[in-house]
Symmetry: C2
Subunit: 274 residues, 2 copies
DNA sequence: TTGCTCCTCACGTCACGTGAGGTGGC
DNA sequence: TTGCTCCTCACGTCACGTGAGGTGGC
């Protein structure tokens, strides 16, 4: 037994090899308060770690292998048992979601690189007159997008019904910004109507200006696959060739009776106003 | 038409929004030669991009979303069509492999965090006398590990047979360093023997010193699951409690007749010499 | 006393983001 | 001429890796 410090403390080198954490990492975790040595010699500054600290160190090492950021690791390790496990699950769900997105991006890119002249999209243009629209706009990431569209659509139609107002055209969704894991739109769900409607709650009323748009029709099943990107690309390429510049947000026009359509049936348009 | 530069070139801002690449990113890609503007005004330094550059920009953007490093993107984009697609596939296979590894790590961590006192390992010790071993040592990452062990085991036994020498004990594999995606051992496949054997090719002959070792017995199916880590952890924890320090590399002792065993049957030991 | 380990800066890496301060084009 | 866009540094971010130069412990 030793007076100044317990017997079985180890120097950083030994703790490093045992925990599979580099010396630099250990010093950083010390500085951040994530993993402080059991004892630090005030004279020399030498760090001494206890065997009991190995478990925490191991866990940090594993969580870093999962690429969890250090602040999040710190939070997680403050939770006890079951709660920590839940936090890990939540994190992992996020990682899995990102991974799935990447996987479908790869699918798309594969085809684009192969130049297998992708499904051939038929691009047309049309004139869309000015119309009044009831809309709900929100910032959502891609994972919440289907749920949001569903919900917003329902709310708007309910609002129209409650006011005895007629929908006068097919609903559409405007993307005012990119929507993926890192970008959250905004996204605006729109239903054209005639008559007079008071804005209620989240539901806004505004005029969507008249415009030309280039569009292509997509099958229902394309709504969540690499096909969708091809569609956007095809319309964008068409615009580019003709020197058209997109003036309003790109949109998806849901003219089909969604729930009754088979996956292979044409169901909606991708459109770029110009 | 303009004398100094073609008509439809865009400034960086427009190219940025169209390609979904930030201005900073575009300037970086320019500096790296990954995506150089079609024209740079020598007076002002203004960058002008052509519409035709959008495709390359888009692809870079997508590949970056897949977290492919810039030098690798540069290589890939130098390949034409099908080759580029193959390169993407190769990259994606790597990503998928890493992801699978992480997934099993999560499995393991879940249990460890829950403190569901993991399967309970029975740790024992034994004395292993000095023995001569024929070995093949190599640096391999975890993905090549099973193939390497299989091959090396085969080669060593073939060598013993050719020399009329008897194997005198069960084969084992020593891990002189961590083996995962980032670390490649070294790994040494060992077969004990008696008699005299000349080293041939990759096969070395050496003496494995006598030692005590702590070990636990694992089922065959544990060989590639989170269970394996629990086993290592359990033995390491046992050593720690008793203040034993690991003196030689950790090892897996394959005493079972591997091919004839069912997944649920005990098949090998995890051992730490001390 | 000799090495060896440890210490603290400081700078590098990767792919950008975020201003500061200044010039150029319509 | 006024803004607006563009330019080039320079520094920050994240989680470390890699020395440089110096001290402490056995």
């Amino acid at each position: 037994m030793n007076e100044t410090r317990p017997v079985d403390l180890m120097l950083i080198r030994e703790f490093s090899t045992r925990s599979r954490l580099s010396g630099k990492a250990l010093r950083l975790y010390d500085a951040l308060g994530l993993l402080e040595p059991a004892f630090v010699d005030p004279q020399s500054g030498y760090r001494y770690y206890s065997p009991g600290q190995l478990e925490r160190a191991q866990r940090i090492s594993y969580l870093r292998q999962l690429e969890m950021p250090l602040p999040r690791i710190a939070e997680l390790l403050e939770l006890e048992g079951a709660m920590a496990a839940r936090a890990l699950e939540a994190y992992w769900r996020e990682v899995e979601a990102l991974h799935r997105d990447k996987r479908s991006l790869v699918q798309y890119l594969e085809q684009a690189l192969e130049k297998k002249e992708i499904p051939m999209f038929n691009i047309e243009t049309r004139f869309v007159p000015e119309q009044k629209v009831a809309t709900i706009e929100r910032r959502v990431y891609v994972d919440k997008l289907p749920a949001f569209i569903d919900e917003a659509m329902g709310n708007i139609y309910a609002g129209l019904g409650a006011s005895g107002v007629q929908a006068s055209g097919v609903p559409f969704v405007i993307y005012h910004g990119k929507v993926d894991n890192d970008s959250d739109g905004p996204v605006e769900v729109c239903v054209p109507f005639t008559g007079t409607l008071e804005p209620v709650g989240e539901v806004r009323v505004r005029v969507e200006p008249a415009h030309e748009e280039a569009f292509t029709t997509m099958k229902k099943k394309a709504v969540d696959g690499p096909e969708l990107m091809h569609g956007y690309d095809a319309v964008a390429a068409w615009m580019l060739e003709r020197g058209r510049k997109c003036t309003l947000g790109s949109r998806e026009v849901y003219w089909g009776d969604w729930d009754k359509l088979a996956p292979e049936e044409p169901a909606f348009d991708i459109a770029y106003p110009f």
